[in-house]
Symmetry: D2
Subunit: 460 residues, 4 copies
């Protein structure tokens, strides 16, 4: 079995995969690590091969670094994508420039000006990946771990409609954890409930998905939500500045519960993500105001190497000796095991809509549960969304579809339509245009697939 890994020089995802594969006893083969930073991939390969030879490593895996994506994908059974633009030249701008216009983003990787520009940069890259898959391993299963999850996965299908691809994200697990805690609180028989014992009906799009049913065995957890909501009130519960010392990733589910309070469904992603899909939470004048909802803005500094970002939050594999295999909690290897027919798995995935959420656009990438077997990925029907929830979700779906269309056409004017309809773009019509043009200008190097005549002209 061959796994091609695009972004194979990364620390987070790549190290987790190495950890997980080397503990899996029923899969074996080669992992081809490709990265535009070849050195990083080579270091990962060396490290992994060393670990693979340790006595406590199960499985039989060989790791190699590739300088060429096509070589890494040639004949692959699985392709994993986990890539990122240079943060300093992209993510920093995505966050900081809008802030000058009064637009605050808690994450900036999915919607908002940041999400839109990340999408515009990612689409050409993902077209290239899809084209390489078509050529080198058309039957492979592609597992995307990169944000913007929906746009990246959607691009793979737009470029190569016969591709087998899913997108994976952790956010729903957090909500299952929350619901496991609720089960423990309210059901006498429930002790040490693990997140994966919670059956949730998931529906929506990545980072703006919703749960309208939750069970622990046959216990309906929604019957406890109103009591839990009361216990968590007032919403918001915090003071500006109160979370100054907390992690940027802190989350109190205040927004998830506020959405439940107003719309009857639980927002099923971290509050940092949920906040960006509507204009009301981030209507702030100062970054610390958002603390009131129990979250912090992730500043651009947290994303860069020197910053206090995720790198600091996870113990990384740095040398073989000091490394201990852990239970990562990630599902990538379980999904691969399911797809080769070893053991089916039911989990939530990002996948083109073929009826699982029948009132969202068919073919758009949506997030719901699916059953994964040797026969592939079969999404589970999640049913329709209530009207006003659908209204909010469809706005994002439409924008994502428009961005993909704009990305394939290289049409910045079309992308600007999506920009104007973004929930965080509530600034004046001309400021919106100026901000868009500024971002195009400053990230021009990464937007070479686009025709710059029209928007550039408008700016002048």
């Amino acid at each position: 079995m061959k796994i091609g890994y695009i972004g194979g020089g990364s620390h987070g995802w790549a190290h987790t995969l190495i950890n997980d594969l080397l503990q899996c006893t029923d899969l074996a083969g080669d992992v081809a690590l490709y990265d535009i930073d070849y050195e990083a991939a080579a270091q990962n390969a060396e490290l992994a091969n060393g670990l693979a030879s340790r006595s406590d490593a199960a499985g039989n895996w060989t790791f190699g670094a590739y300088q060429d994506m096509h070589g890494a994908l040639d004949g692959a059974d699985f392709v994993i994508c986990s890539i990122q633009d240079p943060v300093g030249e992209t993510f920093v701008h995505d966050i900081d420039v809008p802030q000058e216009y009064g637009i605050y983003q808690t994450v900036g990787d999915t919607v908002g000006p940041g999400g839109i520009f990340r999408s515009l940069r990612a689409i050409p890259q993902y077209r290239e990946i899809a084209a390489a898959v078509r050529e080198q391993c058309p039957s492979a299963w592609v597992i995307n771990c990169t944000n913007p999850m929906t746009v990246c996965t959607r691009t793979l299908y737009e470029e190569f409609p016969d591709i087998n691809a899913i997108g994976l994200c952790h956010e729903v697990f957090e909500i299952q954890r929350l619901l496991a805690d609720i089960a423990e609180s309210y059901i006498e028989a429930a002790d040490n409930v693990s997140a994966d014992e919670i059956n949730v009906n998931v529906k929506g799009i990545n980072h703006f998905t919703w749960v309208d049913e939750a069970y622990w065995y046959d216990h309906d957890l929604f019957r406890y939500l109103d009591r839990e909501l009361e216990a968590r009130k007032p919403l918001p519960q915090f003071e500006p500045g109160e979370l100054r010392e907390e992690s940027y990733w802190i989350n109190h589910h205040q927004i998830a519960f506020d959405l439940y309070d107003r719309f009857g469904l639980l927002g099923a992603a971290g509050d940092r993500h949920l906040a960006e899909f509507v204009p009301w939470y981030l209507d702030i004048d100062d970054p610390e105001e958002i603390h009131r909802w129990g979250i912090r803005l992730t500043p651009s500094s947290a994303r860069t190497a020197g910053g206090e970002g995720p790198a600091k939050m996870k113990r990384h594999i740095t040398d073989e000796a000091g490394f201990e295999f852990v239970d990562s909690g990630e599902e990538v290897v379980d999904i691969m095991r399911a797809l080769v027919g070893i053991e089916p798995i039911k989990t939530h995935v990002n996948y083109p809509n073929q009826g699982q959420v029948p009132d969202l656009t068919m073919g758009a990438v949506v997030e719901t549960n699916a059953v994964i077997t040797g026969g592939g990925v079969a999404p589970i029907t999640a049913g329709e969304l209530p009207r006003e929830v659908r209204s909010m979700v469809m706005r994002a779906v439409n924008n994502q579809e428009t961005l993909v269309e704009a990305g394939f056409a290289g049409d910045l004017d079309l992308a600007f339509q999506a920009f104007l309809n973004d929930p965080l773009v509530t600034i004046g019509r001309e400021s919106a245009h100026e901000l868009f043009a500024d971002l195009v200008d400053i990230e021009r190097e990464y937007l070479q697939a686009y025709n710059h005549d029209s928007i550039a002209g408008l700016k002048g």
Copy 2:
């Protein structure tokens, strides 16, 4: 033939109808004027009967005032609705209270906090009208002239699905006038082009409808729009304060053209209305800022009796002697003539969607062209909207459908869902709630059909 007129004490619409009927030679009968202000209806009746006896009055019409709506509708062939809440106690609040929260509205009768509260007040009234029609004249054609046009007309159908009702609005005529001017400018053969010579394909919802095709005979006017756009640039073209002396109803089509520039379709209503359906134009800190787009805010003072409102802008019929019959340009009488089989007419109407805009919600009230004959109203297919335009329109459609549902259920929490998703509600989540609760509180007398427990509780 009998016409029941609900709101028959009004000056604007009622006087126009009197004028038009008394010039129509092929219709005759009785007009029953009903108004909650019976005196006003009686004055109108007296005036009209006097005019009817004048030698220059054609037709043979008798006018009578009614104190009871059911009596006025009993056996009617047509019902005309033109009603309004006491402005000082409703419209003034709709406009002024949101402004305290930083929400500026150019009109406030369709969307925005004002449009939402006007909807909430109108729904119970229109349920009552529909119920009276069902009982007194179930086959009559009901012509609604009241805003919020969509919600009022939709309510009629929700209460009495077999009703025959349409909503009429002037705004598209303005765009036809604009296009007639463009025809004159760009087509050598075109002189003295009248608005009704312009064939437009209309699609959308009232006050947020769009034109994507326009012809003068077989001349495609869209081929001149880009030149016209260039001629009208820069957009916006004005300075804050520049329109201080102008009428509140001034309109330079700057927003209609800006929407064309960005989305490829011409916004087909006055800019005052278009501006309220998106958050960008009214992101202002001072009322005069909006002058930049060639329009003014209509302040609440302009709506009240002493204000410099529409009353001052129209010559009204006040005494028989001094009255001259004029060509009002209104189509109500023409539409009645079509419906009794005299002469078909093609015009734009607000009517439940049965496929005329197939990508908007079926059954929602949409605005398109229709052919009106003795056989009734047959909407003309207008085709789909481009994705991002549909996204904006569907947001409003969803909100209107939610408001009607909330109005029938008396559910203010549900109405607040629509409020949160209103394009002008970009203020903080808690401020939004406070504003909503304030408006409920201050307009409580007109919202007696609603359950106040829930929202009231939230405010405390």
Copy 3:
């Protein structure tokens, strides 16, 4: 103005057009007659030019014959299509071979084995026409008069999606005539009612379209249909053999009324056509059995030159001198006048579904009313069909869509799927295959655009 006429050597349609154009005072220009039988086209041109010079001919038209379709279409404003395969080698087989298998067809030009093979032959021809239009006159309006109407018109759009094309058929006029008679019978005020005074709501597909509303001015004619139905009973009313001496085109509306009796809508085409869309009427063992429903089978002999076919039923223009200009009742010239902006017309047309019948396939060619102006063709919404009527119509729509797909792919196996699902193919599975293969074999010359391997192999 230039009209390109494909099939310009024909007698029926071409002579009618000559007649109509030469009586039209506000159009003038050139008519380019193209026919694979150049001689016939040249004769028509000569005849027409002669007539054009007569003193009683209005308009200013020049007629010319072309040996090349592209030349005839070059720069045309209108294209008229009226073509036919050699009847003896195609239509005769379409009718006679199925009869050997027990399948009787009253017409055989739309559905049934005959309709299917006529479709398969027509699709490559209409692709060629659409390609020529794209190249020579992409903005021209194409008016198709050839059967199978739906498949031919649909093929034009499939080949060249931006084409402007409609299909015209007379059958609905007959139903308007029927309803005009009913108006005269039941409404005292109604005398000499002409068919075009009857407003009908038309919905369905050509030759299987339905009327669910009919008005003479504002008189609802459907309220008289039950009485009329009773007056026309028993259904069927005739005896086998009773119509032996009648025209093959005789029609008593027995089937239209039987469909009304069972489904509540009036079948809106001649009974000869309606009978072929369901299996029940033509379940006969002898051609004369069908007389019971007031119609006759049109035998293949009626189609050939020597037969007692339509040629005998219409007075043709054969020499200038003996010719008198008549009111043909055809609308082609009126439609051209509407499209150049002279006078709008409302009539029924075959046109891609964009919502006019929202429960039929979008993009499929459906038959409804439309308003035709200088701005083009705007279909009028006709609303949904009742479930069981939709079921019957959708079966035919699906088959037509499949045939077009098969025609473009050259895939006879796919065409056979439609054949098996044809309403008249109630014979055994293997006989169905044998009949299909027989027809492919015998009409092979006209099916050269298809891959014959698969079906041929199956036959062996």
Copy 4:
């Protein structure tokens, strides 16, 4: 835990349930057997209680007979429905009377005249069941085992939209068995493959469902289907009369493969059922003709007590002593275990369409896979059907929806619309009516919920 069993006096299903419950170690409780034949229910209860006390019986179950359905359902957690009209007075007519008109049915319980009349009789019964569930045990899960499966299950939801109900049928297991055999034949590694190792994508409606994907672990079995088809040719493979000595239930999958050959999907029910959904296979003149396709007609005699029917084919539980617990292969108990949260199961079920087959009518009962957990039944998306397959399936869906509507309205005229559109009703229009009226007449006792005026009048 309480199980209410409607039809608890039956031999087949009831005995199987007793067998399965008494081998299940993790469920226990009461089973309330209700039957209109109380004696039969009482005998079953006595037998079951005796068995329950045997040492080899696991579980702790008590069985009781009820004379009143409401009592049996009072407080039930599960309701099982397995009922049947007196065969001699209904099923015999369903089969034999149509045969007099030349309509042969292989089963006659789903479509065809037999299926339609069985539906008409079942709808009032299932309304009563749904009403009793609503009153006695609204949260119970209802498992329907009765045919016509789709109509019965659909009726439950139409009467009580909040019901929790599924329909179970064995037919797809047969296709999984067939595919397991194919796996064994073509895949070297495959030995002793059990049916439940085969993952199929199921989509359609009960007895006319289809498989378009099949996997044994990650082996794609569809790649072997063409070879298997060739091996099974010629289709049909048998001679008339050849199966004279075989069981009435014999099945060679000739029709399933013929459908695969023509439409690319495998028909996923027994050929006896598949044959009835199209007119071609049963176009026979003699019952033995159908042998050619490897099946027999099930004559009415096989259904009656003295006949050689299913009673003879299954060993029944008749006395405690001689009884041995067996592995029934039924899933009812597994599904109950899943629904109480013990162990999830993935299987195919009949359930209202909420997007699992997005091109079939929403809300209609369709057959697809589902995941069943403590949280309920979550159908798995199966995707769209190819056009011509959808055309055939939609015809049946429309008829089933119409029958349910007719059953609720008591409208035999509406039911006759479905009758005319039934695939086996290819007889003449008047014969069709006569046959329908005959069946109404002869089964009148069971159709008392219907208004007989209209159809009766038509017959006279």
